[in-house]
Symmetry: C2
Subunit: 158 residues, 2 copies
């Protein structure tokens, strides 16, 4: 069955999750988090994320990538480093020849919980339920990445 990789973008922690789908439902394949150290120069942190994601893409060869868009109502100075990280994660997909599809947090919540205003806990519980996992995947970044993959499986072009 074809695979979808979901990504929860971040600089210190970027979550990824792989789901297989048969057009109707998703099955959990793998998940994880790429971590970078805040004492490194930003160019090296971005490089570490890029190489890390390229490795996972190379290992699982998903047919598509689903990545959450950024939503920052508040603090722009915290948004910029995350956006830079998101840029290299999108690049990793492009360099791996895999199309990337972007979903807003609202679209993801709507697809996973059926309610665009759902809270984080509800999303994580539904991820476990839909993927038939005994508990919510940890850490939260990986669960959010799986939610993006489920959203693409349910709603996306593939």
């Amino acid at each position: 069955m074809p695979l979808i990789m979901g990504i929860d973008p971040g600089l210190a922690h970027a979550g990824w999750g792989i789901v297989s789908h048969d057009g109707q439902r998703g099955r959990h394949v793998a998940h994880g988090v790429l971590n970078t150290k805040s004492n490194q120069p930003s160019s090296l942190r971005l490089q570490s994320l890029f190489k890390g994601l390229c490795s996972v893409l190379e290992e699982y060869k998903p047919e598509s990538v689903a990545i959450e868009t950024l939503y920052f109502a508040k603090n722009i100075s915290s948004a910029l480093p995350v956006a830079q990280a998101r840029g290299v994660l999108l690049l990793a997909a492009a360099e791996s020849g895999i199309p990337a599809f972007e979903y807003t947090p609202l679209q993801i919540k709507q697809a996973v919980v059926g309610n665009g205003r759902a809270d984080k806990n509800q999303v994580q519980m539904m991820v476990a339920l839909l993927l038939k996992l005994p508990e919510s995947p940890k850490p939260d970044h990986a669960a959010d990445a799986l939610a993006a993959a489920i959203c693409h499986a349910h709603t996306g072009e593939r």
Copy 2:
């Protein structure tokens, strides 16, 4: 003489400029702009910027890269795509093995004009004067990139 590349980050237009320096003054070597088309998916625009900058870095092999930090008091939705682009430009430096140094717009204006509150025209005139060019380099993105390189030549660790 060792070379410094300055970068003015952007998604639609990213300026670059190369300056050689002998520790005291800079000499103009080359400048240009990488352009991407707004009708392409963002992952492909980021890939085009990445590959473009990697080519220029490969051609000139600068010993360091100086890149302007982003300053957005106003519209965050316009800041995020530029930050994503800046992420892949930083990555291009890292993947080329070249250290990247980051300067605020204020630091660059201070270094080039001697006044952190200088306007864009003053910066561009001083770039032409300092690099002994007959007129300001065009387009403006390239002049801003040269200003970042001059700033690093004057003030940076190398």
